[in-house]
Assembly symmetry: D2
Homo-oligomer: 484 residues x 4
Amino acid sequence: MPAEIKGLNEECGVFGVWGDNCAAELTHLGLHTLQHRGQEGAGIVGLTPAGLRRHYGLGLVSEVFRDPQSVTQLQGTAALGHVRYSTAGGRILENIQPLLFRFTTEAIALAHNGNLTNALSLRKKLEAAGAIFQSTSDSEVLMHLIRLSQQPTFELQLIEALNQVHGGFAFELLTQSALYAAVDPNGFRPLVIGRLSSGGYVVCSETAALNAVGAEFVQDVQPGQLVIIDDSGMRVRAYTTHTQLAVCSMEYVYFARPDSEIYGISVHEARVRMGMRLAHEQPVDADIVVGVPNSSLSAALGYSRASGIPYEMGLIKSQYVARTFIQPTQELRERSVRLKLSPVRSVIKGKRVVLVDDSIVRGTTARQLVQLFKDAGALEVHLRIASPPLRFPCFYGIDIQTTRELMAANHSVAEMRDIFGVNSLAFLSTQGLIDSVGLSDTAPNGGLCVAYFTGEYPTPLEDYAPALKQELSQLQLHVSEVSA
Amino acid sequence: MPAEIKGLNEECGVFGVWGDNCAAELTHLGLHTLQHRGQEGAGIVGLTPAGLRRHYGLGLVSEVFRDPQSVTQLQGTAALGHVRYSTAGGRILENIQPLLFRFTTEAIALAHNGNLTNALSLRKKLEAAGAIFQSTSDSEVLMHLIRLSQQPTFELQLIEALNQVHGGFAFELLTQSALYAAVDPNGFRPLVIGRLSSGGYVVCSETAALNAVGAEFVQDVQPGQLVIIDDSGMRVRAYTTHTQLAVCSMEYVYFARPDSEIYGISVHEARVRMGMRLAHEQPVDADIVVGVPNSSLSAALGYSRASGIPYEMGLIKSQYVARTFIQPTQELRERSVRLKLSPVRSVIKGKRVVLVDDSIVRGTTARQLVQLFKDAGALEVHLRIASPPLRFPCFYGIDIQTTRELMAANHSVAEMRDIFGVNSLAFLSTQGLIDSVGLSDTAPNGGLCVAYFTGEYPTPLEDYAPALKQELSQLQLHVSEVSA
Amino acid sequence: MPAEIKGLNEECGVFGVWGDNCAAELTHLGLHTLQHRGQEGAGIVGLTPAGLRRHYGLGLVSEVFRDPQSVTQLQGTAALGHVRYSTAGGRILENIQPLLFRFTTEAIALAHNGNLTNALSLRKKLEAAGAIFQSTSDSEVLMHLIRLSQQPTFELQLIEALNQVHGGFAFELLTQSALYAAVDPNGFRPLVIGRLSSGGYVVCSETAALNAVGAEFVQDVQPGQLVIIDDSGMRVRAYTTHTQLAVCSMEYVYFARPDSEIYGISVHEARVRMGMRLAHEQPVDADIVVGVPNSSLSAALGYSRASGIPYEMGLIKSQYVARTFIQPTQELRERSVRLKLSPVRSVIKGKRVVLVDDSIVRGTTARQLVQLFKDAGALEVHLRIASPPLRFPCFYGIDIQTTRELMAANHSVAEMRDIFGVNSLAFLSTQGLIDSVGLSDTAPNGGLCVAYFTGEYPTPLEDYAPALKQELSQLQLHVSEVSA
Amino acid sequence: MPAEIKGLNEECGVFGVWGDNCAAELTHLGLHTLQHRGQEGAGIVGLTPAGLRRHYGLGLVSEVFRDPQSVTQLQGTAALGHVRYSTAGGRILENIQPLLFRFTTEAIALAHNGNLTNALSLRKKLEAAGAIFQSTSDSEVLMHLIRLSQQPTFELQLIEALNQVHGGFAFELLTQSALYAAVDPNGFRPLVIGRLSSGGYVVCSETAALNAVGAEFVQDVQPGQLVIIDDSGMRVRAYTTHTQLAVCSMEYVYFARPDSEIYGISVHEARVRMGMRLAHEQPVDADIVVGVPNSSLSAALGYSRASGIPYEMGLIKSQYVARTFIQPTQELRERSVRLKLSPVRSVIKGKRVVLVDDSIVRGTTARQLVQLFKDAGALEVHLRIASPPLRFPCFYGIDIQTTRELMAANHSVAEMRDIFGVNSLAFLSTQGLIDSVGLSDTAPNGGLCVAYFTGEYPTPLEDYAPALKQELSQLQLHVSEVSA
């Protein structure tokens, strides 16, 4: 497999509109709201009087659409937008979505959030039969399956294709006659439907984006559902009945915006509950609770409430995205970290601090943060993580690619405590996380995917199974702690 | 007076380094930290082996210094940087600082934060004598006065010039042999000195920038002081003894970073105290306290603590700077406001909310915020402002230029309450503000300038006096309420 | 057929290198030399240690490769470059070549100069079978045919594919193991092989590009030939024996650089002979001969030599590419024409001028030029065109797309003379053109394609036949004059 | 003197309009036509309803004014434009003209082509009195002199100032009420007046720019004249009577466009006569005459005519400005030269070539050209230079700054012949040049400045005299040959 076809794991945001005369502008606003889901690149396809037109590029939404003309040229009654996460490899323009397929008889745009576990084997099979791919991402597989389907209508072709791809996905497709949206059978990736005052529809990754464009929430797209929106209205049908709810728990933990709701659960409230549960599970005697802005502030608030220890603003996050280019010296490199997060000395000095973070991935940032607190005069630092230790990669769309890079897969909690140099370190339990979200009483793991913590994946890993097996065999996983 | 010479009031940030081999890089980091003090443009002058070199431009620091080469070309042992606030007029490259004066015998860089009350009359007098100005800002006057001085040394020339300019200023000048820094006789504008581990010195607007570059705080530059830093070390001398402390209270209220300390007072702590005092002065029966991120979060925390009403995250501020270009429809324009601030519905719905904001200028944002809260289902909204009503313009460097634009100068509190559509509206008292900061027991107004609230300016307004007099005569000021 | 799939006719330049450590840099130089063959966009694929990498974009070579890094990142031992002509439609990034196909097992780059007469029908057939195209240009068809071939080796698959596409083409393909180059069975489009001092090979559109990189001319690629260059050296084989030389005569007339040689004929010398023949066929009594710079200077020199009338520099062409954006008034629009060409008044005033141009397409430029000469005081203007009247479109790769736009297809020579307002107007005869080039004594039309003048196309027009038939039926072609 | 104040010698183009509603657009077109006079930067000041507005930047006119908005924002009834030559030092934005001086009571724009011999001493004197300069160019001195003048009107102030600056200059100044233009007492630098069909006036560097905007030639500005154009029409007055015609001969030799006329002499025709005279003075037995495009084509045509040796197109100049960035190897660097000029092998091979170039400065290009001819198979190369050897610097505005860099100041003709490797080398005589131009029978040197060839400067060199004296003392000038 050539070097270009890697980095298959990505997190993204999608935003589609049908039936509003400001479709492209609304999509532009929507992508701004979903910017946290992907900063590598962005694109919009608009259904204009001259057909589907695309503008896309590498960079933030504000960079790609710097020229107002770039949006107005896409003006029409429907649009589809996408933001893409930055992964190490695969940072090429061809991978920026929506993909736009120009056939001699029609054009189709495709946007995808998620990751397919059988993309590579499907692609190999398709290529062997003569198919040519334009991107290195796995999203394109769906279009080839559609085109090869012998079903009589596009809708049936799409359904046939959706039943062939496995893994986590929220797909949106835009044609000249309809907007299609579908979620995988486990609901790994979120997708919601909203209604505009114009009567048009929005289908996008998070409810926060519905709010941003003034759309009223209609419903979540359920696992295994296909939504079809055209000029006659909205239809929802199941493309499969083999479904099992397993929403990505990391959406609740750190990925989604706090002002979003996923399957009816407020992300902010869920995080507050995680913080409260964490305080009960892992109490500590301290003076103040400080959260790492911005994603851990909700959990810190919860910890403070449950423990009675005062909530404080001990860290300031810069409001400006500093393009930190490579610094000439190590000292300058470390200083540039402080551009993003800086401690409030008057708050921290002489205090015993509970520092709440949402998760530990590589551990780099946590290590630097702890040092900042010590330099600012903290008496004690107690690190509390509002999720269980991340030990296993995700294959459904979150960019946690390899066990090797995960700190908790390579170190015990005691080791990590020493590496961080904190007075104590503790994590939320998996059951605590499940209870805090409170999504389902009946589904396994409360309707969440918690494979990153437990290694128990809700679906077969297919193309990824051999590599994972090999990785795990090389690691000394602290399995006893996992179950604790 | 031609149209170009307007917008004399501006807020800015300055950052100077002497005696460190990474002077330009440190200044670059420092300007990122001071970015909140000015987003119109930025510049750095570096003392390179080939003399003083400048790079500058319109835009954010990250835009002006997008190319790493733009910083490295300024490499040397000293540097001076500046960020400039965006005002309506005067947005021309010539006004971006540091100004660099190239004489046949030497070169001098000048950076200025503040506003001079006699700049226009000085400029007219200088022009009548043949002087030519390259910018339309008032900062350049100082250099002309220096050059016309008959004093034998640059230091004495500078002192003579500093005694001729009036108003609010923090000046920094860089020559090939020294870095000079001076603060006006009232200390309107802040300036602090720090020491680097290399032995070099930093002089900049806020202590947060010292922290960002790892410099140790040495001292605040006191009113009427001139600091001279050269290879033999640092000297501080008084250029005048007619001083009277009157620090700009708006620095504490909203302008400075919460992680900065001004004259020994933590900005964050001062804001917490403002919120606590506000809770005592203006209590209300409610369910949650929500602050407007990010500048009002400290005050909201204080209000919560003093009142016992739970602190909540009811508003989310986007982490991405959205370039919001002109939207085609009014509806889209209003939606684009939500890109910056969005309510957390699950938090707000059905709640009686105390919404804490740091100040009311035009009132536009507050009006939109209140609407967002109502749309999100708030039962009641009680707006609490952690500073007194802004009724008078600032002539010392804060961009509050005209009484006409100030909502509180044109409306009573009751009128404003109705305009906002809130259940109640209340402001912190001036004495409450003074006590909360707690800067000085002896100086008038506790060592603060509170002219924006009281109309009592600590110095003669000179060039601005006639225009202000005329403005005030046209307004019906609610003076009775001011004293309340 | 959607609007995007149009503008299939394009002229381009290709440049491939195998076996030189500066492959990407050489290709960059080569593309500069071929810039006249296409200004819409440019791209280079380099065979780097990490596999095939591409940099491409819309604009001139100097714009696309403004950043030196854009070339150095492609460093390796082989490279393939392309410049693309600007046509009205189809100006999208996806059409910029070389196309880069990333398969799971390998990657292949493709560059094409020419136009296929059966591209659309092939594409429709392929799409019906499930194929997905990434561009709207016809070049991509070849890759799909290759991938669908059942032949055992890539070389044989390529040969099978080459035998399925019809029309004019010079294809180059780069894989990790070899560089392939092929010319259509009629040799419509030129392609030459050169040898570098390093031992490496260059295959490109014109010999001028060989000179630019210091490569020694080896041979022209002959009609129906496939060239394979890999680390074991160069092989040339015929992929078909059904060949018939019909080199595009417009390459000699105006398209190729004067310092190039096509099939051994110097372009400059051929043009000088066209001018001489024109002087014999269409003599006139005049004072000076002026050519339209730069493409008609050779013919003007020839006309001067044969007629004895002094050659003069009566027109100056600007050396700067003026981006002429839309001018607010008609007067300004006409003035902006003079930015490109301006008359030398002292040369023209009071003179009887023979103005030599290489061809008349729409006639717009000629009309404006004649007016410039009259304004500059020319006594008489005799327009002499060094090629026959263009009356029929080209379907083999020159951007003469529709008979409707061709002035000579809609007007008699006498009518054109009156429209131009010249004292006389005359064209070179088709036989004169054939004799002037002097390519072949045996092949029909001397081995040239002269279909634009005669309407007799050397191959079936296939997909284009119906549209051409309809167009011609709507025009009153002055066929009698054509044969004159 | 600090490093920044160098590179005082520059060549430039100026273009002013008064009294036309498309003033800014016309100036934009005019600057395109004058682009050859300066490629470092460009700027336009427009007299808009809101006063004088400026747009300027580093780069070509097409780059600086890439955005149409950049011109339309300057819309009004008058404008002043400038293009600036690229010199090694001083490439800073502050030096890009027109300079725009914003006073509290008015604004004035200034554009300058030329060089002042007493700029430095004037500047030092002015700075000692307190003046501050914004640029490092010498043009700004004039404005300071104007502002210090005690004369009652601007016109008289300007006249006083013009009498204080020495050297070569064509100044244009734009105020809200008039356009001023003045030429130095020797007429070193050209300036012409044209009339638009709208009744407005144009004053610019060359008649070619008049043609480009459709303006009718009115008259040359004579040495010592000041032109004032306002809404009441045009006035011409002498600001001094101490005049002596000494037009820069290099304007005729290579600098001006061939389609311009300077003091009534066609530049193209003058160059043809130089070539003819050169053929008479320095005949040679050869097969073809080839000129170096584009500036030497006129002289080559003259040489051909006078000698009877056929004129040939042996060199092709690329029509595309290749941004040639630093090439990794010496071989690639030399190849990149061929991007600009490439030989026509079929023309050159086996021929004895007379290669005509307009001048020899450093000799680098000539050396490379000769090598190209040899590689292309030339039997003999005879280099003929259509001007005398350049041995002395220019201090009046042409960028020939130092004798050290001038090949002919350091080598005899015989030495140069050997260095070039040509069969013969010969220059036009100074008298031949004077006769060829044919400007004046009465003025010394026929009204030309020929100091670059003879070292006899028409005016005192003032600030430059000491440096020149020292330079010359270090060189072994071949004075005997100079007089030959």
